[in-house]
């Protein structure tokens, strides 16, 4: 979080003085610099600050608890996940200012290609760049844990494991985090802008010596020092009023862009993706429940960012907000958004407001009660996993098969097969469908298309809403449109097992349904049919309408992701590539395949999450309401 300015000093003893920017102007004044503050549950007397809940103390536990884990046990947890699986690669990507190792972990299978033979994409998550934001390492560790736990689930998790890489830096600012955990109930300076100990934000760099500040909170001479690692990157460095060149500032940007070894380590972590395959960057912070997303003026990339955030926000029914910004100030998100042109954001984890769980102390939002931590971890992981799935690739039909429902005979069988850099449609069987007969239609996709809960029941992925049944229209371009028919979802079955007309590779990557060619169908001569499929996957992406070209990510947008007209898009469309035919004579030869759909068959868009709003203090954003009322009056009036 940046300059979290909320609340006025309540302590007579705290006499730090601030300028309008928020920097302390008397850092050498002992009555500011030497003030020692203690967090408590209820004691608000003297230099105590009541939080309204028990002060969280780091716990040694590898596995997640209702609370915060110590850095050492978090690190042990990451190492244990690494040692347990070939699907995790732990790498030391650099050292902190104090020389401690910074670790990154790449999670995904060991090859670099998707099961479709396309180069895998990747996501990078940075954790704990700001030392006091303890929600961050817990959340990103949960993501790490879940990715490894679901890697062999046969469905969603396995798909991610085989087709995507996730690089996680659980704790970038190791020195600062250790300092914050060393003093879990103590801080210094001012309640308005608490600095060292539990409320340390920056790294431990000493600006004069080039070394590090001491770790003794009682030795106050250097307590204000350190570099804000989230203002230390080149895009927007020192611009737009978002950082300070004052060495004691909470947002001191450092002497030059990427001056800090921690910043270099993050770049090295990006290379594990590798960087040119990254499609998503998250810098996990707290607090205020918002995706702060830099916009860079690239319309497609910016729109993809907005839509991707919308998907993740919908996972939690809009609990998190969307905060786009064009003012780059040297953050990590600014850097990755600008240089790699990928969706990037600063994810400010809960709470929304400082007083959501306890007292309204301006900085209490950095301290989440133990009792909220496990839920918070799960929620963040669910959001980010939805983001990974969305960016791992786009849905496409891979195969279609039609059987006579009574005899089981295959009447149509086609699949997209690899050819060079793309694919061609291989139609193995194409025999007439006969009016009056019932058929079973099987469709195979390239990824799990539906989500199941722990009990195996089809359901929405948390707050996301996707119809169980795709919109399937049987079109007959040679006839009037009234001849077309929509396939009912009554007999729909999403497949979960291997076998005849079973899954392609993953649970729920194939479906079967039934249809009847009406006996009255005018098919004296063979009539070509198009199976127009408009399906949305688990997070709402539409199909790649032209599977002949492989979907990939390049220069800030998707490539090879076409709509039904064959136009390049970032939104997909309706697949019309499978073309069986209808004829009264079952031995009739197939007519020429039609050239695409008759019409665009668009399903309604998924419901967007509630608007982000401005959060607390909404009164200021409502200034225009009286104007609206007046405008309404004026519209009615004639003069």
């Amino acid at each position: 979080m940046g300059v979290a300015l909320a609340g006025l000093p309540m302590l007579a003893s705290a006499v730090c003085v601030f300028d309008d920017f928020g920097d302390i102007v008397n850092p050498d004044d002992p009555s500011c610099r030497d003030v020692q503050l203690t967090y408590t549950r209820n004691d608000n007397t003297g230099n105590n600050i009541a939080l309204g809940f028990d002060v969280p103390i780091p716990v040694d536990s590898l596995t997640g608890i209702d609370g915060f884990r110590s850095y050492q046990s978090l690190h042990e947890r990451h190492q244990s996940l690494d040692a347990a699986s070939t699907g995790v690669e732990g790498v030391i990507v650099g050292q902190t200012a104090a020389g401690r190792d910074i670790w990154a972990y790449r999670i995904g299978d060991t090859n670099s290609s998707t099961v479709d033979g396309v180069t895998e994409g990747a996501a990078l998550i940075n954790g704990t760049i700001h030392a006091r934001e303890w929600q961050s390492p817990e959340a990103v560790t949960e993501v790490f844990e879940q990715l490894t736990e679901i890697a062999n689930d046969g469905g969603f998790g396995q798909y991610l494991h085989e087709n995507f890489n996730v690089v996680i830096v659980p704790v970038l600012n190791v020195d600062g985090f250790l300092q914050a955990q060393r003093f879990p109930d103590r801080t210094t300076a001012s309640e308005l802008q608490p600095r060292d100990g539990r409320m340390r934000r920056k790294n431990m760099r000493h600006p004069s010596s080039g070394g590090v500040v001491d770790e003794d909170i009682d030795l106050t001479a250097d307590n204000f020092y350190g570099v804000d690692l989230n203002r230390n990157h080149p895009r927007g460095f020192g611009q737009n009023g978002g950082s300070s060149n004052n060495r004691i500032s909470l947002v001191y940007r450092g002497p030059q862009p990427q001056s800090e070894s921690e910043s270099a380590a993050l770049l090295a972590a990006a290379d594990l993706g590798p960087a040119n395959r990254l499609r998503m960057f998250t810098d996990a912070h707290s607090f205020s429940r918002i995706f702060l997303a830099p916009l860079i003026g690239d319309n497609r990339r910016d729109a993809i960012t907005r839509d991707l955030v919308s998907v993740m926000r919908s996972v939690l029914n809009g609990k998190y907000r969307y905060g786009p910004s064009t003012n780059l100030i040297g953050t990590t998100a600014d850097y990755f958004a600008s240089t790699l042109r990928i969706p990037s954001w600063t994810l400010e984890i809960e709470p929304l407001q400082p007083g959501d769980f306890g007292t309204d102390h301006g900085h209490s939002g950095f301290i989440l009660p133990d009792s909220e931590v496990a839920r918070m971890r799960d929620e963040i992981a669910d959001m980010l996993l939805a983001g990974f799935y969305t960016q791992a690739g786009k849905p496409a039909l891979r195969a279609a098969r039609i059987r006579d429902a009574e005899t089981g005979e295959i009447r149509y069988d086609a699949a997209w097969v690899a050819e060079g850099a793309g694919r061609r449609l291989d139609v193995g069987i194409n025999r007439a469908l006969v009016p009056g007969r019932s058929y079973r239609l099987w469709l195979g996709f390239n990824r799990p298309m539906r989500w199941r809960n722990a009990q195996g029941v089809l359901t929405n992925y948390r707050g996301l809403s996707v119809p169980v049944f795709p919109y399937i229209r049987l079109q007959f371009p040679a006839l009037a449109a009234t001849s077309d028919q929509t396939v009912s979802g009554d007999a729909l079955s999403w497949r979960t097992a291997i076998g005849e007309d079973g899954v392609v590779r993953y649970s729920d990557d194939a479906l079967e349904t039934g249809f009847i060619v009406p006996a009255s169908f005018p098919a004296a001569t063979p009539v070509a049919m198009i199976v127009a499929v408009d399906a949305r996957d688990i997070t709402g992406s539409r199909l790649d309408a032209d599977p002949a070209t492989s979907v990939n990510w390049s220069n800030g947008h998707w490539v090879g992701y076409e709509d039904e007209d064959g136009s390049p898009t970032d939104l997909g469309g309706t697949d019309c590539s499978f073309a069986p035919f209808v004829a009264s004579d079952p031995t009739s030869p197939a007519p020429a395949a039609p050239d695409g759909c008759r019409e665009t068959a668009v399903t309604p868009p998924t419901t967007p999450p509630p608007s982000g709003g401005s959060g607390g203090g909404g009164g200021a954003s409502l200034w225009w309401l009286p104007l609206l009322s007046l405008a309404a009056v004026l519209r009615r009036r004639r003069w």
């Binding site: 300059v3 006025l8 590898l62 209702d66 407001q353 309204d360 401005s614």
Partner: protein, 367 residues
């Protein structure tokens, strides 16, 4: 026909009035300056004195006065109200103070300050009176529950157990405080009721944990560690590492180690005892290969002595079970000692070592 200009003028006046009456947005520095009213010190001091004296009625009146004080700038008023409300948390309330706090919970902050997070500007109220008054009511609830529980404990009233199970979170906090402050002699009588309640799945874990800690009751502590809620079990794991529990610490921690939710914390706690408790050390080695194996490996690595490293090396080299070997390998990886590094390097260069395991040896020890 009226002139449109007149309406423009009316709109401008209305908007100006609206802006004057509504909340004001400013920087924090501006809010601080605006709050520096000459009356602040005396009014704040009076609130402090009233709170210190426990004068609930006086504080209620003073809060009402500060809320209505004419000519006081909003930031100063809100700062005074906020501090006064916080002070009320430590006062035994009367009806007037309760009413005043309830009313202040609806006070809408007239001072908004902007924040500029990562280039994204938004505003927040200077003080959140809803949150602050909610906190005060919680503190009162906690205090009242503490007093009630203290009386029940002194009277040996077993109903306090059932009351705890139905209580709010704040009331439970107060009751647990009462247990921690009660003479141990008051508490033994509650053990059977607590054991029974835990058997029945009643949410009395924190109460039972506090009683067990105060009375050094091994049976009750065992029950908490085996069946209590995770928060109570976690708290108890911290408690039973105390030397006061003597030889009971290890068997109690072993009970907790079997749990999914807090088992790792228990295993790491066993690791802290393993330097002096052979039973704990042996438990950790036995745990390699089991679900708690990674935690056991970490605990052994933290010990870091050469004997432990040698035993881990032996497990890695001699066991056939892959999970056990992976956990031993993890223990060596986590150990910072040169001995462990050498053991891993030797393993990596052993032609008999399975490549799947060698792949988990850090690359700089493989080359």
């Amino acid at each position: 026909m009226r002139s449109p200009l007149k309406f423009v003028g009316i709109i401008a006046v209305l908007l100006a009035a609206s802006a004057a009456a509504g909340p004001k947005t400013m920087s924090l520095g501006q809010a601080m300056k605006a709050s520096a009213d000459p009356r602040y010190e005396s009014m704040a001091r009076k609130a402090d004195v009233l709170a210190r004296d426990g004068d609930a009625a006086g504080l209620a009146n003073h809060l009402a006065t500060m809320k209505a004080e004419p000519g006081l700038a909003d930031p100063a008023r809100e700062r005074l109200l906020h501090d006064g409300i916080m002070a009320a948390a430590g006062v035994q309330p009367d009806a007037a103070l309760e009413n005043q706090i309830r009313e202040l919970g609806n006070y809408e902050s007239q001072t908004l300050i902007w924040t500029d997070e990562h280039g994204y500007r938004e505003v927040r109220p200077l003080y959140d009176f809803t949150a602050t008054t909610r906190y005060v009511r919680r503190a009162w609830s906690e205090d009242a529950a503490r007093s009630r529980a203290a009386r029940s404990l002194a009277a040996g009233d077993l109903a306090v157990v059932a009351t705890f199970a139905r209580a709010s979170d704040a009331e439970r906090e107060g009751a647990v405080d009462a247990v921690r402050e009660a003479p141990p002699g008051y508490l033994a009588i509650f053990q059977p009721a607590l054991m029974s309640a835990l058997d029945d799945g009643e949410p009395v874990g924190m109460f039972a944990a506090a009683v067990a800690a105060r009375t050094r009751d091994v049976a009750l502590m065992s029950k908490v560690l085996a069946e209590g809620a995770a928060d109570a079990a976690l708290l108890s794991i911290r408690e039973i590492q105390s030397p006061a529990w003597g030889g009971e610490s290890v068997p109690l921690l072993v009970i907790a180690s079997a749990r999914d939710d807090v088992g790792s914390a228990a295993v790491l706690a066993l690791g802290r005892l393993a330097a002096t408790e052979p039973d704990a050390l042996n438990f950790l080695f036995r745990a390699l290969g089991a679900a708690s194996g990674p935690s056991a490996a970490a605990a052994l690595a933290r010990l870091g002595d050469d004997e432990v490293i040698a035993r881990l090396s032996n497990v890695l080299g001699s066991q056939t079970d892959e999970a056990t070997r992976r956990h031993a390998l993890l223990g060596l990886r986590l150990s910072a000692s040169q001995t462990a590094a050498k053991a891993l390097a030797d393993f990596a260069h052993d032609p008999e070592a399975p490549p799947r395991l060698v792949a988990e040896v850090p690359t700089w020890l493989r080359d």
